[in-house]
């Protein structure tokens, strides 16, 4: 494929008088792990919600695999190959881990209310195939023991894993991770970076990750894009971004302090 996998140009969105994202350019190449970072309220999640088509940008275009998806509908996005997780976990809370991973394969299955209701030929095979795929993913993430547990009874960390599994099981080309470290301790954060890298290699993924934990993205990402008040203030390799005075100022308010201490 020529050109970037995801290419965002001049993305702008306002909420009332507030410009949440202001003329943002961002691209993710195939196989890359890109971090979108910035202080709280910088507009990172808003960018995700534009890509997921939950928000309609006022200006700009979002292209995925060369196709303009700026006016696509939110439920079509996963079909194009973009799956996501959420900052505060959006699972189907009354369902088991397995059922959540079956929901993750919603678009891969044929469906239809009459086909389901009459159990037409193929329904059983579809379910069996999806269940097998879900089981493989649960095993890969070490969730086999929790397969039949209702997700609302799982600890937060496991819920985040189930959500990651639900996104991965849809076989995406691009994975959007919104604050994967939220609620995790230092050791878990290290494990998470390894896991994301492993998943990237295994499933041939590109990853766009929103974070405010600097040390996490420094170790994980190939490239960083820094947002502040909806504008991109820096972009480049983690090492370069780390020493950028504009970034240091945005994070700490004063240039003298070392960013690594965050």
């Amino acid at each position: 494929m020529t050109g970037p996998l995801l290419e965002i140009t001049d993305l702008t969105i306002r909420f009332g008088g507030l410009v949440a994202v202001d003329g943002l350019d961002l691209r993710v190449n195939a196989g890359e792990i890109v971090g979108l970072i910035g202080p709280n309220g910088a507009g990172k999640t808003t960018v995700f919600n534009c890509i997921s088509r939950f928000y309609q940008p006022d200006r700009g275009t979002i292209r995925f695999k060369g196709r303009d998806i700026t006016s696509s509908r939110s439920h079509e996005i996963i079909r194009f190959g973009i799956a996501r997780t959420f900052q505060n976990v959006e699972l189907c809370r009354s369902m088991t881990a397995l059922e959540n991973l079956l929901v993750g394969q919603h678009v891969a299955m044929r469906g239809g209310v009459i086909r389901d209701g009459l159990r037409l030929p193929g329904v059983g095979a579809d379910e069996a195939r999806a269940t097998q795929r879900a089981d493989e993913m649960l095993e890969l993430l070490g969730l086999t023991r929790d397969r039949d547990r209702v997700v609302s009874t799982l600890p937060f960390g496991l819920q985040k894993l189930v959500e990651l599994g639900r996104a991965l099981v849809s076989d995406p080309a691009l994975l959007l991770l919104d604050e994967p470290t939220a609620g995790a301790d230092k050791q878990e954060i290290q494990g998470l970076a390894d896991l994301i890298r492993r998943m990237r290699d295994r499933f041939d993924l590109s990853v766009l990750v929103v974070e405010h934990d600097m040390s996490f993205v420094m170790g994980l990402c190939d490239r960083l894009s820094v947002l502040d008040f909806g504008r991109r203030i820096a972009e480049g390799a983690p090492a370069d971004v780390r020493n950028d005075p504009a970034v240091i100022e945005a994070y700490l308010g004063e240039p003298e302090v070392e960013v690594t201490e965050v």
Binding site: A83, L91, S94, V103, D116, V150, T153, S170
Partner: protein, 356 residues
């Protein structure tokens, strides 16, 4: 025994028991002294017809999380469509039944469209308006709907089977007809809610955001849920019109919509079996109450009882009859396994009830 039957056998067991019960009930009623079997069968048929509505409504409210206080409206549409088609156009009962279901489903689909923009109490009020409007429209269009006095003298229901035609004459015949339709629609509903479509419904109920991100088209699935539940109500309405051989607008008041709602709350939201048992219980309760002497001075006793049932169920058994049955089964299972379930396991099973 349970192991010998295997999981498949265990899953099919309720259907087998249900079928045996359906076949035995008329015979049992004939040997019990002191009751009128015909009248009891009529009452059971009525309960089975209401159960069809309750199952459809349960899919909409219990699984998809979309509220409706207007299902008496769909029930009325099915009843009137069927009555008009057989009475005025002389169409066979089977055709009328299918058309009645389809018309109701189509209107359910249309009502589902504005419902996309409404949720919770707003949707409840909008559907309440729909339920209120239908009988009034029937009265307004009195020249062909029979107005306030209704439509009467519907022909006997019949079912052509090749060279034969089954004509449903007695209460027992109607009982078998209602039971057969209910069984087919129960299996259909179970298949829908345990499959791909049902998962999409529950995903919408649990988190619309997650559902959209996973590719669930809210427009498609919400309107499908509305149309499906309206289809059930429409078919039930058609059976109702033919069971009573006549209908009038006062059969379809808002109170009936509340009845349907109470049936599924009492039975347990999100459970097909719960909707079924809630409908049976409430219909018989209503009938039993009309026999109490106090009803002579207090005609609306049933409405008060309905309110009390709703409050008690929501306060003490939010999972309804289905939840009670589930915890009883769990207790039984742990006793036979001879290994006490951990508290966590009980919580788990209790929580799971939300799914179906």
């Amino acid at each position: 025994m349970a192991r010998w039957l295997g999981t498949r056998g265990r899953a099919a067991a309720p259907y087998g028991l249900g079928l045996i019960a359906v076949l035995l009930i008329p015979a049992l009623l004939n040997v019990i002294p002191g009751i009128a079997p015909g009248y009891v069968l009529y009452l059971v048929s009525l309960a089975l017809i209401y159960a069809i509505v309750a199952i459809g409504l349960g899919i909409l409210i219990g699984h998809t999380g979309q509220f409706s206080l207007g299902h008496a409206g769909f029930f009325a549409i099915g009843a009137y469509a069927s009555a008009l088609l057989t009475l005025r156009l002389g169409l066979p009962f089977v055709v009328a039944l299918l058309v009645a279901g389809s018309v109701s489903a189509a209107i359910g689909f249309l009502l589902g469209l504005p419902a996309l923009r409404l949720s919770g109490p707003y949707l409840a009020v909008a559907t309440l308006g729909f339920g209120l409007a239908v009988p009034q429209l029937v009265i307004w269009q009195g020249s062909w709907t029979g107005g306030a006095s209704g439509l009467h003298g519907l022909p006997l229901a019949s079912l052509p089977l090749g060279a034969f035609t089954i004509v449903f004459r007695t209460d027992q015949d109607y009982y078998y007809l209602a039971a057969a339709v209910l069984i087919v629609l129960t299996i259909f509903a179970r298949n829908v809610v345990t499959g791909h479509t049902g998962r999409a419904f529950v995903a919408i109920r649990d988190s619309e955001i997650a559902a959209r991100a996973m590719g669930v088209d809210l427009v498609r699935y919400k309107t499908t849920a509305f149309a499906l539940s309206a289809l059930y109500a429409g078919i039930a309405g058609s059976l109702y019109a033919h069971l009573l051989h006549g209908i009038s607008p006062e059969d379809f008041t808002v109170l009936l919509s509340i009845d349907f709602l109470t049936m599924i709350v009492l039975g347990g939201l999100g459970s097909v079996g719960g909707a079924l048992s809630g409908a049976l219980l409430l219909t018989f309760l209503q009938n039993a109450l009309t026999r109490l002497p106090v009803v002579h001075d207090f005609k609306n006793l049933y409405i008060v009882v309905l309110g009390v049932i709703l409050i008690l169920t929501i306060a003490f058994f939010p999972q309804g009859l289905a939840g009670i049955a589930r915890s009883a089964r769990l207790r039984w299972a742990t006793r036979t396994v001879d290994r006490p379930a951990g508290a966590g396991q009980i919580v788990e099973l209790g929580e799971r009830s939300g799914v179906r």
